[in-house]
């Protein structure tokens, strides 16, 4: 079979697989890719060794499919919990207004726009300009992380203190949410220091060191809140039109591309942080632009970070997918770059086409089954996965992460503060005083 057909079939298979997996709540594509990497390594010196022409496009397809379709569980299975939520994400508002289908499809259009932006605009410029910026920013990444942390902490709005006379009582009422945010950030940071310096997880599975903590910080609180939530998902109405035009798409690409780009290029900065910064920089208040921008941002963040590994002359590894590939393969030149770009384009088209049928399937599913039961099953799967990979120690870490991850939800601050788990220890390490702090803590 010619390399063209091998690549095409591989990317198609990877995309279809991850598109289906993306509909399962709580499962991350990197967990699946991690298992695949182990399989590829095991087969490496046998007669069944998998060549790079097969696994590279397949993994590209998996990342693209997941980046595009994991919106489905995020919107359709992420019912907000009125019992404690102070803010509700726009995607969830669409769900509660019976417009979940519209919300996911607008995000999908954003993903497709992100694919166009990445392949047609970023990819041709990247080999020429990114090595330059890389050389200029060399040695400066640490303070970029520090100013992101500074802005993240300084820009949170005090959500209380709206009524009553001036004075300390009002100030305290306002600052309760901010203090909860600061506490979340520093507790998550402490957890990060522990896990990055002397993780209790067995060294045999150290590549999943952070996984239990992330599951605890983000996935388990989401399941728990869904389970105790008193809200029901209203009947969902299919939309005849998405009410979007070229201007909305362009402005979504503008804000989402900036957010996703920041997250993809700078180390440790995630899509959520990039989205927050882009939201502040571009101030797009239209909810459609926000939702579509999230689609663009997520696509650029996951797929763009992966693409950076293959940019000729750049040699930049960003994101979990790229790190996993790096253990298997070292990209060499333009051939690989064009193959990856082609795979991204093909996978984007396939995953976009799969969006509508899969959304309808999930809508039928939540119509038939109580989403609280779905969340319970998801929680069980997550716990089994954590225990299977990292053992009981991993489960304990996940529980501690859950405690920290619940704080912002229950006390009205930003969940973004949970990212202190990586931002704080890595910024300290990059600035060269991480060891001083771990020394104070007695970890080193």
């Amino acid at each position: 079979m010619s390399p063209f057909w091998i690549v095409l079939l591989s990317v198609s298979a990877g995309t279809v697989l991850s598109s289906v997996l993306a509909c399962l709540p709580g499962l991350h594509v990197y967990n699946v890719m991690g298992a695949m990497v182990l399989g590829i390594l095991a087969l490496e010196e046998t007669a069944f060794a998998i060549p790079s022409d097969v696994f590279l496009p397949a993994m590209t397809g998996m990342i693209v499919g997941w980046a595009m379709l994991n919106t489905i569980p995020a919107v359709l299975l992420g019912t907000p919990d009125e019992s404690a939520m102070f803010t509700v994400l726009p995607g969830q508002k669409y769900l509660m207004a019976g417009r979940g289908f519209e919300g996911t499809m607008i995000t999908a259009v954003g993903g497709l726009a992100g694919a166009f932006f990445l392949v047609c605009v970023v990819a041709p410029c990247a080999p020429r300009y990114l090595p330059v910026s890389q050389q200029v920013l060399k040695g400066h990444m640490h303070w970029v992380l520090w100013i992101i942390i500074t802005f993240m902490l300084m820009s949170e709005w005090p959500k209380g203190g709206n009524r009553g006379v001036a004075g300390w009582a009002k100030f305290y009422d306002a600052w309760k949410t901010l203090l909860a945010g600061l506490a979340t950030f520093f507790l998550a940071g402490m957890l990060g220091f522990i896990l990055l310096t002397r993780s209790p997880v067995s060294h045999e599975v150290a590549f999943q060191n952070i996984m239990p903590a992330f599951v605890g910080l983000f996935a388990i609180p989401w399941c728990l809140l869904n389970m105790i939530s008193a809200a029901d998902v209203p009947k969902q109405k299919p939309a005849k039109s998405l009410a979007i035009n070229g201007d909305v798409i362009l402005r979504s690409v503008w804000s989402g591309g900036l957010g996703g780009g920041i997250a993809a290029y700078f180390p440790i900065v995630t899509g959520g942080v990039g989205g927050m910064l882009a939201g502040h920089a571009t101030a797009q208040r239209d909810e459609r632009i926000f939702i579509m921008g999230q689609g663009v941002s997520k696509f650029i963040y996951y797929v763009g970070a992966f693409m950076l590994l293959f940019v000729p002359g750049l040699n930049l590894t960003r994101g979990g997918g790229a790190w996993m590939i790096k253990a298997l393969y070292t990209p060499a030149g333009k051939t690989d770059y064009y193959m990856i770009l082609g795979s991204i384009a093909v996978a984007s088209a396939i995953s976009y086409l799969m969006m509508e049928p899969l959304t309808r399937v999930v809508l039928r599913f939540i119509d038939r089954y109580n989403y609280r039961h779905v969340s319970t099953v998801a929680l069980a799967i997550i716990i089994v996965m954590v225990v299977a990979v990292t053992g009981w120690t991993g489960l304990f870490i996940a529980l501690v992460g859950t405690g920290i991850g619940l704080l912002p939800v229950l006390f009205g601050s930003r969940r973004l503060n949970c990212l202190g788990i990586l931002l704080l220890p890595i910024a300290c390490n990059m600035s060269g005083f991480g060891e001083v702090i771990t020394g104070w803590l007695g970890l080193t």
């Binding site: 182990l38 390594l41 490496e44 010196e45 009125e82 019992s83 102070f86 509660m96 207004a97 050389q135 040695g139 009524r163 009553g164 506490a183 507790l187 402490m190 957890l191 522990i194 990055l196 310096t197 002397r198 993780s199 209790p200 060294h203 045999e204 599975v205 150290a206 590549f207 060191n209 728990l224 105790i228 008193a230 809200a231 029901d232 209203p234 000729p312 002359g313 040699n315 790096k326 253990a327 298997l328 070292t330 060499a332 304990f396 870490i397 529980l399 501690v400 859950t402 405690g403 619940l406 704080l407 229950l410 009205g412 060269g432 005083f433 060891e435 771990t438 803590l441 007695g442 970890l443």
Partner: protein, 513 residues
């Protein structure tokens, strides 16, 4: 005026617990109504969740901290490292293979460690480097080492990052006590202990890049120990050196084919209160044995935890029939062709062994890992997969760890023929691509990525002399400095409209005494 209103969208599904039971207003998650002050009862599940969150986030985190703090980092053999251990913290007990070398950027240093089952490069941050230097713990080849680091596994460059200076334990390799007269270039690369009376200390001239020179004498002869300002500052009794008896642990090396004794740390020099005991004189047989550098079989190479058996071959023994096989080849480097800037070509090295030659290629990222870069004339051993290139065998090296220097003494070091020197002003654009010899004085250097540029001035003009680290031996580069009189052979080129001379591979620049 109050008007009647219907339920708001979404409110029909909102829990009543979110409203004050007394006044009916929305109060959210609080337990006391901000409007009427009534107590708002919450569901047990929510109250339980709140307390569970607080306890897990504080006490749970503390327990996790205690667990981590008291955990012993497991000792792992380098040969047993698996990709699933990536980012893991492990303890390695082994031997330092190469001296720790600071990065050119000054942001840290690296050294290689072997434990008999494999080897790995260890990166040290700047702060850690400073701490190691201060405590005289900079690893040297041959030292026994026990340290904790975190793993970074990749297809090409698996490495470790030193986690803590406190958890690095170093036992220096035994250094034989040697009489000054017995120190020879045959001991190159070894650490020895010498003792004697200081005759003089020569500090470097102001604004010079030269090292300190400490001249000492014992019953058998005289030697000079070289060190830098940093090491000088570390010497405990540096003001009393002149005329004092000292003992020093030094490394034997060569500089421009002359013996050089390098002091690694000021803490390695001890001022003695009385003359040292005489060193036993070696018999001719012992001297011969000391001079003989035993070639030990290299430990199994570490590559992602898997070992690939390699057959050691001479250059001429590699044939196209071996395509696909992994072989190890030893030969002298004939030439090194780095990729042209802006392209993604591989490095091409020609290995020669007598009449036979073999093309070896590898990518830039492989080159970055190679500790000692191949230079013309040096004897190298390389391991890779045999491929067919233009109907000839070619060795494709996949890992930088598999390029190893055996002997950097060139078979015949090419000297610059000063008699061929031309005036700088005579070099014109028309000479582009031609090789020219020039002599003159070096100006202030400008660093390049992978090289350095010196303006070279003679009586007639100035031209930029470009020296790439990948093709010019380190000792040649190290000998050059601003103000030095040199002669150089290079190819005429042009960059941004300016003429330049690109030093040809090998010993193509030399300082004129």
């Amino acid at each position: 005026m109050t008007e009647m209103k219907e339920a708001l969208p979404g409110h029909e599904t909102q829990s009543h617990e979110m409203n004050c039971p007394k006044c009916g207003r929305f109060v959210g998650a609080v337990t006391k109504c901000p409007y009427c002050g009534s107590k708002v009862e919450k569901r047990m599940s929510l109250i339980g969740l709140r307390w569970a969150a607080i306890l897990l986030a504080t006490i749970g985190l503390f327990l996790l901290f205690l667990m981590a703090k008291h955990r012993d980092v497991p000792v792992v053999m380098l040969g047993n490292i698996q990709p699933t251990m990536n980012f893991g913290q492990i303890r390695v007990i082994g031997q330092v293979e190469t001296d720790a070398r600071p990065f050119r950027t000054g942001t840290g240093m690296s050294f290689n460690v072997s434990d008999g089952t494999g080897k790995i490069i260890v990166f040290v941050s700047k702060k850690q480097m400073d701490a190691l230097t201060e405590s005289n713990l900079v690893p040297k080849a041959g030292d026994a080492i026990d340290f904790v680091g975190s793993l970074n596994i990749s297809d090409e460059q698996s490495s470790m990052r030193l986690l803590s200076v406190k958890e690095l334990h170093l036992t220096r390799a035994p250094a034989a006590a040697v009489r000054l007269a017995d120190v020879t270039t045959a001991m190159k690369g070894t650490a020895i202990t010498i003792a004697g009376k200081v005759l003089d200390v020569f500090p470097p001239p102001a604004d010079s890049k030269r090292p300190y020179a400490l001249k000492i004498k014992d019953d058998s002869g005289e030697q000079t120990i070289n060190f830098w300002q940093a090491e000088y500052d570390q010497i405990a009794d540096k003001d009393m050196l002149n005329g004092a008896w000292v003992r020093a642990r030094v490394e034997v090396s060569t500089y421009q084919n002359k013996l050089q004794l390098k002091l690694g740390s000021g803490l390695d020099l001890e001022v003695l209160e009385e003359p040292p005991a005489a060193v036993e004189t070696k018999t001719p047989a012992q001297k011969a044995a000391a001079a003989y550098r035993q070639e030990t079989a290299p430990p199994r190479d570490f590559s992602r935890g898997r070992s690939v058996p390699a057959t050691s071959l001479s250059v001429g023994a590699v044939t196209v029939d071996q395509a696909g096989q992994t072989v190890r080849v030893r030969g002298r480097v004939e030439s090194v062709s780095p990729p042209q800037e802006g392209t993604r070509q591989p490095y091409a090295v020609m290995l020669a062994d007598g009449e036979a030659s073999l093309r070896v290629s590898y990518w830039s990222n492989v080159n970055e890992v190679i500790t000692v870069k191949p230079t013309p004339g040096a004897l190298f051993e390389m391991e890779g997969v045999v491929e067919v290139y233009r109907d000839k065998p070619q060795l494709k090296v996949q890992s930088g760890y598999k390029v190893r220097l055996v002997d950097d003494t060139p078979a015949s070091a090419p000297a610059v023929d000063i008699t061929q020197a031309v005036a700088v002003s005579s070099i014109a654009l028309a000479d582009k691509g031609q090789v020219r010899v020039v002599r003159g004085t070096l100006g202030a250097p400008r660093a390049l990525r992978g090289g350095v540029v010196y303006p070279l001035t003679d009586e007639t003009g100035t031209i930029d002399l470009v020296l790439w680290e990948s093709i010019i031996p380190g000792e040649v580069l190290g000998a050059l400095e601003e103000g030095a009189q040199i002669a150089a052979t290079g190819e005429v080129g042009e960059y941004e409209g300016q003429l330049q001379l690109k030093a040809v591979p090998g010993y193509s620049a030399m300082v004129i005494p």
